[in-house]
């Protein structure tokens, strides 16, 4: 694990549908195996990101519990986890201004180049905000 100093960020790297993603490990409260049981607070990441592919295969579906400020839970199913480590902020590239609004709409905020491949950085809090209303409605229904 790299030094998580001021110039570094701890990232959880994983893949979904063959695309590498990464997220701030601080946004993750825990990781658990996906048993197949559906729940109202459980979402597939490819649905959250709006993958255009009709079918996305998950080899090792894993549930990532996202830290939330309220009582609302938010869990996202990702695929194979690859690494948790500290990465230099200098290595992280933001989207061009032209694309940034569109990327942010999908919860993507930057890119981490790793060799010849790129890791798309996901902001689950941003996704949570976009899902907040839907999640709140479901959650309230369940509570009521």
């Amino acid at each position: 694990m790299s030094d998580p100093g001021e110039n570094h960020l701890n990232l959880l790297l994983f893949t979904v549908g063959g695309v590498r993603f990464g997220c701030d490990s601080g946004q993750v409260a825990g990781i658990a195996d996906f048993t197949g049981a559906a729940a109202e607070d459980l979402f597939w990441l490819h649905e959250e990101l709006g993958f255009q592919a009709p079918v996305v295969a998950y080899r090792s579906p894993t549930i990532v519990s996202i830290r939330t400020e309220g009582e609302r839970p938010y869990r996202v199913i990702i695929d194979t986890m690859e690494e948790i480590g500290a990465f230099s902020l200098r290595d992280i590239r933001l989207f061009p201004a032209l694309l940034e609004p569109l990327a942010l709409q999908k919860g993507l905020w930057g890119i981490l180049p790793r060799g010849e491949k790129m890791v798309f950085l996901v902001d689950f809090q941003l996704l949570l905000k976009m899902r907040a209303k839907q999640i709140d409605d479901k959650w309230r229904k369940e509570i009521s």
Binding site: M1, N10, L12, V28, I31, D33, I84, A86
Partner: protein, 503 residues
């Protein structure tokens, strides 16, 4: 004229002739007897005449133109001829030389026939030859039985003759009367016989003729049928003879062929024996092969079980590996969570984070190792599966081979049985062919005898044909005769024209 009429007439004629012949014979005997009696009588008269003359004198001589018996002058002395006539009737004469000198024969004018001469054969016998003469003679237009004895002197010279004669009519009047009666009676008998015969013929012969006519027609028809049959038999016999000759030739060829077949059959028997032995050896070898294949099959089955067990154990290892993999994944999750906690702990969790990373790396390593192991196990399972499939295929092939081998054994056993049967059959064929050869030779001999018999039969048929032809001709003749009997005529082709026949 009807033949029956002719028959009646012939019968009458025959009867008449028979009666006539019998009568003639009888009359001839009577005539002969009368003639004999007349001769006896004449001899008695002549002896008496001699006795009377000898009583006058036994020395006969001619003296002075007179015939003397002793001293008794005979010339113109009619005592003795008259006495003879008085005693016996008839005529008596004493000749001197050939001249009548004493006689009781009277001329037409009533005078005695003195001086007339003795002529003819009586003269020749008595006067010339000095022998007695007996015979008939016409005296004064009457037939007489005459007897002349020569009168000889003491020297034996004929000096005269003594004659007695009886008129034939005296002896034969009754005979002539009887002859007339017999002729009349014969005629009457003939007439009666004719009538009776005609009646009998009409009553008895006509139906018989009718029956004979019918029988003749039948005989004629049968003769025709026999002729036709014999003609057919002749043709058949000719064909039969030709066929027998052909069959004989064929049977000789057949006998020759049978000899060759017998020879070849013996060769076939020997080859069949060899084949039988080879087949038995082959069956035993194939049976051994079947046992070996069974052993191989058993071994393969055992190996297959072992391989299946290996596959099963490999799968169990796989399950263990899955468990290990799950544990590693869980460990990895735990390591990730620990790393997350370490990251959130900041500097304090740095060392823990390092451990978590190491644990995660170990887990990754385990996962990689288990993946490699899984890969190897998968390869092993694939190999096992291929081996199982190959073994199953081999087992299946061996089973098929086993079935083929068993089938082959069965076939070979059947083949052995078949070859054995073939051997027996070939042996039987050989024996049968030899018997056939013998039988063929016998048949050839029999056919030759049949051919000879057919030839004899043909000759007999020809003879029978000839006889049938003669029978038909006789039948035709008989029919002609019957028709002639019915209708009259000669019966020789005038009424019946015989049907044409081919023999």
């Amino acid at each position: 004229m009807k033949l029956t009429t002719k028959f009646i007439l012939m019968n009458v004629i025959i009867l008449t002739l028979a009666i006539a012949i019998t009568t003639c014979f009888t009359f001839a005997r009577i005539n002969s007897e009368i003639t004999r009696q007349a001769g006896i009588t004449q001899e008695s008269i002549l002896k008496t005449f001699w006795a009377l003359l000898s009583a006058k004198g036994s020395n006969f001589q001619v003296v002075n133109g007179n015939l003397l018996a002793g001293g008794y002058v005979v010339n113109n002395n009619f005592e003795l001829p008259d006495k003879v006539k008085e005693m016996f009737g008839g005529t008596a004469t004493i000749f001197m030389g050939d001249t009548r000198v004493s006689t009781n024969i009277l001329k037409a004018d009533g005078t005695r026939a003195i001086g007339t001469k003795l002529t003819g054969p009586a003269y020749d016998a008595v006067v010339t030859e000095g022998k007695p003469y007996r015979g008939e003679a016409m005296i004064l237009d009457a037939s007489y039985l005459t007897a002349y004895d020569p009168i000889k002197n003491s020297k034996g010279e004929v000096v005269g003759a003594l004659y007695v004669g009886v008129e034939k009519g005296d002896f034969f009047s009754a005979y002539n009367s009887l002859q007339t009666s017999v002729i009349l009676m014969t005629a009457a008998i003939a007439v009666i016989f004719s009538i009776v015969t005609a009646l009998l013929v009409r009553k008895f012969l006509s139906p018989v003729i009718g029956q004979v006519s019918g029988i003749t027609e039948k005989i004629n028809a049968h003769a025709d049928a026999i002729a036709l049959t014999m003609d057919q038999q002749s043709g058949f016999a000719t064909q039969l003879s030709s066929s027998v000759v052909q069959i004989s030739s064929t049977m000789e060829e057949f006998s020759s062929t049978a000899s060759q077949i017998a020879l070849h059959s013996q060769g076939v028997v020997e080859r069949a024996d060899k084949t039988l032995e080879d087949s038995k050896n082959g069956a035993a070898e194939v049976e051994n092969l079947t046992f070996k294949v069974n052993d191989i099959s058993h071994n393969i089955q055992t190996n297959l079980g072992e391989i299946v067990e290996l596959g099963r154990k490999s799968k169990e290892i796989n399950k263990v590996m899955e468990i290990i993999n799950n544990i590693a994944n869980q460990t990895k999750l735990i390591a990730f969570n620990a790393a997350l906690e370490a990251a959130s702990a900041g500097e304090a969790g740095k060392r823990f984070g390092v451990v978590a990373v190491e644990i995660r790396r170990l887990a990754d390593s385990v996962v990689e190792s288990t993946a490699e192991i899984e890969g190897k196990i998968t390869e092993i399972l694939d190999s096992v599966n291929r081996l199982i499939m190959s073994s199953e295929k081999s087992f299946q092939l061996i089973q098929e081979g086993q079935e083929y081998a068993s089938h082959t054994v069965l076939m070979l056993i059947e083949s052995v049985d078949g070859v054995e049967e073939t051997t027996n059959a070939a042996r039987q064929i050989s024996l049968s062919t030899q018997q056939q050869q013998i039988a063929s030779s016998q048949v050839v001999l029999a056919l030759k005898e049949i051919e000879q018999g057919v030839r004899f039969s043909t000759d007999s048929i020809h003879q029978t044909n000839s006889v049938t032809g003669e029978l038909a001709e006789l039948s035709e003749q008989l029919r002609a005769i019957i028709i002639a009997l019915k209708l009259g005529g000669s019966g020789e082709g005038a009424i019946v024209a015989p049907a044409p026949r081919v023999y």
